[in-house]
Symmetry: C2
Subunit: 470 residues, 2 copies
């Protein structure tokens, strides 16, 4: 708990109205979208500007109080769960677009802005911010940057990291630094911009970001390819890219996912096939037309039983929305939904899907798989119930095997969800003890008192998800 | 100097034939392409593999011997000058393409491979590695990664950083770490891949890299727009991009540069105009055709006196080659050529060119300016003579003013050349004392004995170029 003295210091910075420590507020911010993690913060602060954040951080650094910056808490790795108490920082007062620069094609924003709101503002000017995490209706840019969020357009356009050109951040000692700028090229010093992207709030608090925009593609087309053979769908993915076509979106949904998504969205998705690919291309009309034709041909050659182009933008949007809502749909099945994001080189998609199905069978679990096939970024999802400890043990073992198999295939334990608390015990699988030691050296150098989102990324012990529930 | 004991330890690692400490070898590697910096190393080693590098690093860490990894030494910031002696590491035995993966669109290479050689190999397979520093005929991928090299295609395609997907690196303690992989998405831990890109050998030795490839554009077209008004050329750059066209190349050459380049290349470049823009677009034929037409229209609206499309690929290649050789051409004018790379947001190009010309006049210097206008990345270049101390003082003051002006315009002291020794005294202009302190914390954490390319990036004192000559 915070002492009265510290509480008064913090209130003197943000004002009484931006300091909350009643039980209700602390409960609201005790968890995020990750199942099975909860821990009460000591207080919830809503600073109004960078100077206030710097002042808060200085107090926290002096008294060794944990700080957890939080956007909308949609992350799936318990990255914003205040596992060690301390202060949750909210950005509800720092949610503005500072500038859209049409000459330099940049947008400068405060971290608290909702991603979709920003996207709509820039698209109104004919510009395009491609990263589109499924959570973008509610997630914030600050959260996206801290988690290096991906999305459906990653294959062609990259992820959040590829669009962050400059940052303002508050370090653990209260220093405010600025990195990068509206610069296509800048090699003045270490790339702290990208070091901070995806660092999950463990190195500092991001207070402003300048993001790269590109011209909005002229047109977009959407199609569905249906398969009775999962392998054939995976082969189509590889063959499209080996044919030098990079579609904007190349999503995979297996039958169990399709059934749930259709029950939720009711837009006429086929539920009698083993898998579908949702394929989109954008760009100049001639190019989109040609690429769609060539991709349809490839899917047919690879035994797609049907290839249907969406007849209207409304139909296309319904398909995209259904896909984006896959997690919400799956969450209706059982009290607990464990969704993972093991990722492999795209050439290994077929092997990975096969491995997931074998592992599900071995542990007698239902695992639905969907995800960004073009990125090799799959979301095996297990509807379960945390109260069933016996089943949760099997879930934990199954996902550990899935991570190990992903690494064996040249992959990673997390493609876009982050490490947080949840995947910290598995990080060594990917980076080795030496890689983690190097990261720890950087963390300790920038945050010697370990106040910046402590307990995240680095595993304190080898406890895993199943143990947390006990 | 190295003791006999240390020398024997190093020879036992790399073999007698890969250890050189005769005066001639030490002289050859005492300087790089940067004028006016020279310092003898104690020995030059050519390891054959990562294990040998790890063993060398362990010896160096034990005895606090500086290590300077060196590709072809084409950098322009004295980044590979062994200013504190020690060991120069050469990569002549580590220069292979390990794999071109056509399914995942990656190439995995050893650091010593010449960039152009790798580009030719991947293009033979219909794939494309866009970063094209002007030095690419002789520079190595390892050097490009350490300096985060740019090039003529940066505007549309980004720089080296944007194509590095994974690294193997040897840390100062001898640990070998692997980052990233053939993964479109990977958020497992801090982004050490990008932290190492552009770190100029100060954080570790890069021993292998996996690079992203994209499909080779189907076609490319090249044109020259001629101007009697530099401002009009700069306005054309801004207007092209504000019209949502992102060309592959958008290069600027002023009249003094044009004259020198034409005298060198003799390809019929106009020398009676104030400035030219070299503009290229690549992609599907319809798109290239349309963009070239629209860009030509914009240039004419902005008072270009002539817009000429290259009639053949030979003519286009001659134009590109002439541009790439601008530095070599300028180097023929005077004994010493000081070339800088102050960079601004592209909206500020006109103001920056104007400032450079005013500063040249103020200090009574010839400064030729060319560069990547679309990136805001200019190369003001001063033909001079280091033996003329009085003039060098003026050169130094002029460039300091250029850096300050670039920063005032929201720019940076270096767009693509790196900080090295040469720009270390100016780094604080861009990052502030707090930004440099944060970088220093990371450097000390990963390299506590400061053996990795010491004296680079971080200024020991405020001495600048002119003082070095005395």
């Amino acid at each position: 708990m915070l002492t009265t003295d510290i509480k008064h210091k913090l209130i003197s910075i943000v004002g009484q109205e931006n300091y909350e420590d009643n039980k209700a507020s602390r409960l609201v911010y005790s968890y995020d979208a990750t199942p099975n993690f909860q821990s009460l913060p000591d207080a919830v602060l809503s600073p109004r500007n960078t100077n206030e954040i710097s002042a808060i951080v200085k107090v926290c650094n002096e008294y060794k109080i944990p700080i957890v910056p939080r956007g909308s808490g949609t992350n799936l790795c318990a990255g914003t769960c205040p596992t060690e108490g301390g202060i949750v920082l909210l950005f509800k007062h720092m949610n503005k677009i500072i500038e859209i620069d049409e000459e330099n094609l940049t947008v400068t924003v405060q971290p608290g802005i909702i991603t979709l709101n920003m996207i709509q503002e820039v698209e109104a000017k004919g510009l395009f911010y491609p990263p589109d995490p499924s959570s973008m209706k509610i997630s914030t840019i600050g959260g996206n940057i801290n988690e290096n969020s991906g999305g459906l357009r990653g294959l062609k356009y990259g992820v959040t990291r590829d669009y962050v050109m400059g940052l303002e951040a508050v370090l653990a000692n209260g220093d405010v630094i600025r990195t990068g700028g509206k610069l296509a090229k800048d090699v003045a010093g270490y790339d702290f911009t990208r070091l901070f992207v995806g660092s999950e709030g463990t190195l500092g608090v991001i207070t402003e970001a300048t993001l790269k925009l590109i011209p909005l593609p002229e047109t977009k087309k959407t199609m569905l390819a249906l398969y009775q053979d999962i392998d054939a769908a995976a082969r189509s993915v590889s063959k499209i890219i080996a044919n030098r076509i990079i579609p904007a979106t190349l999503e995979f949904l297996d039958q169990p996912t399709l059934k749930v998504v259709e029950a939720h969205a009711q837009i006429g998705l086929p539920t009698d096939v083993q898998a579908v690919l949702l394929i989109e291309q954008d760009g100049p009309p001639e190019v989109v037309e040609r690429d769609m034709f060539r991709m349809a041909e490839i899917c047919k050659q690879e035994q797609a039983i049907s290839v249907q182009v969406a007849k209207s933008e409304e139909e296309a949007e319904a398909l995209r929305t259904a896909r984006r809502n896959a997690l919400s749909a799956l969450a209706r099945l059982k009290p607990t939904t464990i969704l993972e994001d093991a990722t492999v080189p795209r050439s290994e998609i077929a092997r990975m899907v096969k491995a997931i199905n074998e592992i599900a069978e071995k542990y007698d679990l239902t695992i639905c798989t969907f995800g960004h096939a073009g990125d090799g970024n799959l979301h095996p999802t297990c509807p379960t119930d945390v109260r069933n400890h016996e089943e949760m043990e099997r879930v934990e073992k199954a996902f550990e095997e899935i991570f190990i198999r992903a690494i064996e295939l040249g992959g990673t334990i997390t493609g876009e969800h982050g490490v947080g608390v949840m995947k910290a015990p598995y990080l060594e699988l990917k980076l080795g003890a030496q890689g983690i030691a190097a990261m720890q050296a950087v963390k300790s150098a920038l945050d010697p008192n370990n106040i910046m989102n402590p307990g995240k990324v680095f595993a304190k012990e080898s406890r895993k998800r199943v143990v947390v529930t006990q």
